[in-house]
Every structure is written in C-alpha cells, then in structure tokens.
C-alpha cells in the first residue's frame, strides 16, 4: 500500500461522488448543503453505478480502457448533470440547518458508533491480502487483463472461471488500478471498503427522510456487525456491491410508489443498470424487484406500470450488449445448466433446495437477528394497515428467497449445502438479509406513524 495508491483512490471516489451529485442535481437538486450531505451517499452509489455502467458499455463496444477514459467519463457525467440541472432552473443551495432535539443526539451517537466500526474495518482493509478464491481466480485476473491489454482480451475473458459474468466489477477495479498507478491488489480492498461506507451513508441518508433516528440507527449498526455483512465490506468480490445497488434501488422504488417523486425512479433505474452489469444474479434480483413493484402498485396501474415498463426497457437495453458479446465469443450462457423451468425435473432436489434457502435466510450465525426482527416489523406494519411497504418488502424477501431455492434446484451440479465453496446460496441470500436491515426501520416507522395518526384522528 502506498500514499500514491490511497490518494489515487480518494480522487477516483471523489469522481464517483461528483458524477452522482451531477445526476442528483439534474433529476432532483437540493435546497441546502445539509440536504446534500444527507443524500451524498446516494449520490456516490449512483455515481458508481452510472459511471461503472458507461465504462462497461464502452469497453464492450471496443473503446480502449485507458486512464483518460477513467477520468473523462465521470467528469463528463458530472458536468452534464450540472449544466442540464442549471437549465432546468435549479437554485443555488443555501447552507441549511442540521436541526436539533433528541433525534440529533441519536444520530450523533449512531454516526460515532458506525464511524468507529468503519475505522476498524479500514485498518483491516488497508493491508489485507487477496485471499478469496473468486477474487484471485477470476475477478482480479479479468481486471488485470483489461488493465494490461486495454480491453476484453478474448483469451482471458473466454477461459477464466465465471466467464459469462458481466464485467462491471473488473472495470471498477481497473479504474482503481489506473488511479493507484498499478494493479495494487492490496490497496484495492480500500476501494471496496469505500463502497461499503457509501452504502451505509446512502441507506441512513435516504431512510432518515421517513424514519426517525431512534428507529434507524439500531438497524444500521446491526447490519454493520452482522457476521456476514459489515465485516465483509472490504472483500474484493461482486456480491456486496450487487446487494448495495439492489437495496438502494428497492428503497427508491418503494418511496416512488409512496410519493411518486419521479427522480427516485430515475436513480433506481441507474442502480438497476449497475446491478445487471455486476453479476448474473443481478438479472434475477432486478426481475424480482420489478415484480414486487408491479404487485404493490397494481391499484394505480395506469400511472405506475408504464413507468415501470420504461424502467424495465432501459435496464434490458443496458444488460443486452454484454450478453451479445459473450454469445458472440462462444461463452456458455448464464442460465442454469438444468434448464430451471420444468418443475418435473430433479423433483427430489425441489424441496431441499427451497428449504436450504429458507434455512440460510433465518440463520442468525450469518445475519444476527436481522431477519426475525424484519418479520416482526412486517407483522406490525400489516396490523396497522401499512400495506404498501409491508407487501412490497414481504414480496421482495419472499421472491429473493424463492430465487435462491430456484438457483440450487436448477443447477444440479450444486450440492445442497451451506458450504461456501460448494453452493453460492449464502452469498446470494445476503441480498435478502441486507434488504431486511433496510426494511425493518421503514416498516416500524410506518406502524408507529399509523398508530399516531389513528390516535390523532380519534382525538379530533
């Protein structure tokens, strides 16, 4: 690890933040710098997804991946967002106020505790070696191939394990290599730590709009200390970044269904584009999110479904080029080897596969109490007739779990085991667990405010 590497990474992540801020300025704007500070995590995540997607698409069409491309794309996105936002009449933001009261004290305490944890994780990340099989067997080799050869080198991209996986992760790794001055696979862990920091910031910032601090921070801290979530933020694999995009998009889609603020759907679309270019499971998770959104917005389908249709079309258009590339280069597809659509196949694996996904979902050794608490929150939300968030998250977690069972069932080579080297179910189900961490405070806040509103209505 060198100072050059760390300074380079800082610059790269400022570019992600700037490009996301440009997009946020274009689609929404912000009234004050305090409001921007609240949404900066979301801007960062959107910046990673948008810039990462553009780099990936340019790489697929054959544009050489150089330092200039790494610098020009985020700068162009940031400037375009700022200029178009200005044309739309965005006002210069004021300073704003951070408020006061007990919520501020809880927030300060939560920030301090989260900061303490993330600082400890940084000390771990900055000198970590590359230990994870997926990381050294294909994610980082793909990144090195792009770095050294400037493009999707046919030899490596058709023969490495996971050759059908889309290349957004290698692409963001290469961007880090260029800014660090070389393929420094040790300092690369700091980049993934920064993705984790950005996600925690995005989650707390976006939820604080609807969730009081005393309901929010216990869940933020719980997700950080859950054995297979926070402590793995620095691991240089695709799973957690995929989950960050998925959970971010899910919250934005739910809030869009609740308040119809169109900027939320625009940013959710960008995160979904990032998802389908990060990992093949991204396609499944995007489909699951779309189904849940269609389900809960069915009552107002004339207004919501066309917008969701546009979202799906954009995401499909972004997902297509990589699929065309690997088919054209003779790489076996992303679909399950067992077909996966005929329930009459491998019937003996059907129940054990779904049982496995269910067991992993409720395993406290992976996710602490995140899932049982989320189930309790779901029950309370239903009891207070907060149907939209309850049905949305219930459907989403249920469909993700069914998807996990389907993956195991549809790929007969996968043993029915939680063993990490044999079956990806534990890594895949991280999406459901992280979703539970985000869903619980939303559901509890909805239940709490429903009771308060009903008491106020009764009193008047």
């Amino acid at each position: 690890m060198t100072a050059h590497g760390l300074v380079g990474l800082a610059l790269l992540n400022l570019l992600y933040l700037a490009s996301g801020a440009g997009l946020l300025w274009y689609v929404r704007g912000w009234e004050s710098w305090v409001e921007f500070a609240r949404l900066a995590g979301l801007a960062f995540l959107v910046g990673v997804a948008s810039v990462g997607s553009i780099w990936t698409l340019l790489l697929i069409v054959g544009v050489p991946f150089s330092l200039w491309l790494v610098l020009v794309v985020p700068v162009a996105v940031a400037l375009a967002g700022l200029l178009v936002g200005r044309k739309r009449g965005r006002h210069r933001p004021g300073l704003g106020s951070i408020g006061n009261g007990s919520g501020l004290i809880v927030t300060a305490f939560g920030l301090a505790a989260a900061g303490l944890f993330l600082e400890a994780l940084f000390r771990n990340a900055r000198l970590s070696g590359l230990y994870w099989w997926d990381a050294w067997s294909f994610w980082v080799p793909k990144a090195k191939a792009i770095y050294f050869f400037g493009g999707l080198d046919e030899q490596f991209f058709t023969t490495l394990p996971g050759s059908s996986y889309p290349p957004l992760i290698p692409v963001v790794d290469v961007a880090a290599f260029h800014l660090m001055g070389g393929p420094d696979v040790v300092t690369l862990h700091v980049q993934y730590w920064l993705f984790g920091v950005g996600f925690v910031w995005a989650l707390s910032g976006v939820l604080s709009e609807r969730v009081p601090a005393w309901l929010l921070w216990p869940f933020v801290l719980l997700l950080l200390v859950a054995p297979r979530i926070g402590e793995r933020f620095h691991i240089t694999e695709a799973d957690l970044l995929l989950d960050f995009f998925f959970v971010g998009a899910s919250i934005l889609v739910l809030f869009w269904i609740l308040d119809r603020e169109r900027w939320r759907l625009a940013l959710a679309t960008i995160l979904l584009c990032g998802m389908v270019l990060t990992k093949r499971e991204g396609l499944l998770l995007a489909a699951v999110l779309l189904v849940a959104a269609l389900l809960v917005s069915a009552r107002d389908w004339r207004r919501t479904w066309p917008a969701l249709g546009v979202l799906a079309a954009v995401v499909a258009a972004v997902a297509a080029p990589w699929r065309i590339w690997y088919v054209a280069h003779g790489v076996a597809g992303e679909g399950p080897s067992g077909g996966g659509l005929n329930p009459a196949e491998s019937t003996e694996r059907l129940w054990p596969s779904f049982r496995l996904a269910f067991d992993v979902l409720f395993s406290s050794s992976y996710w602490s109490v995140l899932v049982p608490v989320a189930v309790g929150a779901l029950v309370l939300a239903l009891a207070t007739r907060a149907f939209i968030p309850a049905v949305f998250f219930g459907a989403l977690v249920g469909l993700v779990t069914l998807g996990g069972g389907w993956i195991t069932w549809a790929i007969p080579e996968l043993p029915i085991t939680q063993e990490l080297g044999g079956n990806p179910i534990v890594r895949y189900m991280g999406a459901a667990a992280l979703l539970c961490a985000a869903a619980s405070p939303i559901l509890l806040a909805a239940a709490w405010s429903a009771v308060t509103e009903s008491e106020e209505a009764g009193a008047s």
Binding site: R123, V186, V379
Partner: protein, 141 residues
C-alpha cells in the same frame, strides 16, 4: 400494543448490535494486526500461500519469464508437496499472479510441479528448481 411491539423490536436490534459490537471491533483489530504482521511476500501471495507450495517459485517465475512471454504450468498428480489445493488450482493461481504473461500449451517456459520432464525429450533445460519438486524450465524449440 403496536407501540410496545415497535419498542420491543427496536430493543432487540439495539441489544443485538450492542452485544456484538465490542467483539466485532476486537475481531477487526485482530485481523488488522495479523495483516500488518505479514511479510511482504505473505501479503502479496495471500490466497496463493495454500496453493503454490513455495513462494520462491512464483517470484522466480515472475522474474525470469518476460512480460510478453508465455508459459505453461504442468502439475503432476503425484506432486508430493503443497496442499490438496496445489495440483487442481496451481495453474489458476499462476495465471492471476503472472499477468500480463499469458498461459499457452506450447509455451517456451514451463513451470513444473512434479511433472514429467522426460516427455520433452531432452528439450527442457531446468533454470531453477527447489527441494519441493518444483522446477522452472526453458523448452527449446
């Protein structure tokens, strides 16, 4: 009743986080101490330490094979050293470690893990070898 339920669930989450928090910080601190105590080679080779059997072999390969060169890793099934992971995964690890050098079946460089050098009919000139049964050879055309 709903409010009691909300407070209860927030309490459960708070207690679970509070109980786990010190141990998580301690675990991360221990990991950080372990990472910083590693030698440069242990940290750079990292996941390969359980695969390559001898760190010197990967450094020798990187030092001897030119960046635009090609190499082939041959692991004999009876290679006595390393671990259970060595024979199935050593070629994969070299592929990661030696980039931008490319693997190729007919490469002029051979990284031999207990392989049969006799099959090259005297064309294999060993340029480096260790006590574990690992050798780097130049294959004459």
């Amino acid at each position: 009743m709903v409010r009691v339920g909300v407070v209860f669930l927030v309490g459960v989450a708070t207690i679970a986080a509070a109980v786990r928090f010190p141990a998580a910080i301690q675990d991360l601190g221990a990991d950080a101490a372990r990472n910083s105590a590693l030698s440069f080679a242990d940290r750079e080779i990292a996941g390969g330490n359980g695969v390559v059997a001898d760190q010197a072999a990967v450094y020798e390969a990187r030092g001897r094979i030119p960046e635009d060169g090609t190499y082939h890793v041959a692991a004999g099934p009876d290679f006595p050293g390393g671990s259970d992971l060595t024979v199935p995964y050593v070629a994969s690890y070299y592929q990661y470690f030696l980039m931008p050098r490319r693997p190729a079946e007919d490469a002029p460089w051979l990284i031999c893990y207990g392989c049969d050098l006799e099959q090259y009919g005297g064309r294999a000139r060993v340029v480096w070898e260790d006590d574990e049964g690992i050798a780097i050879a130049r294959i004459q055309p």
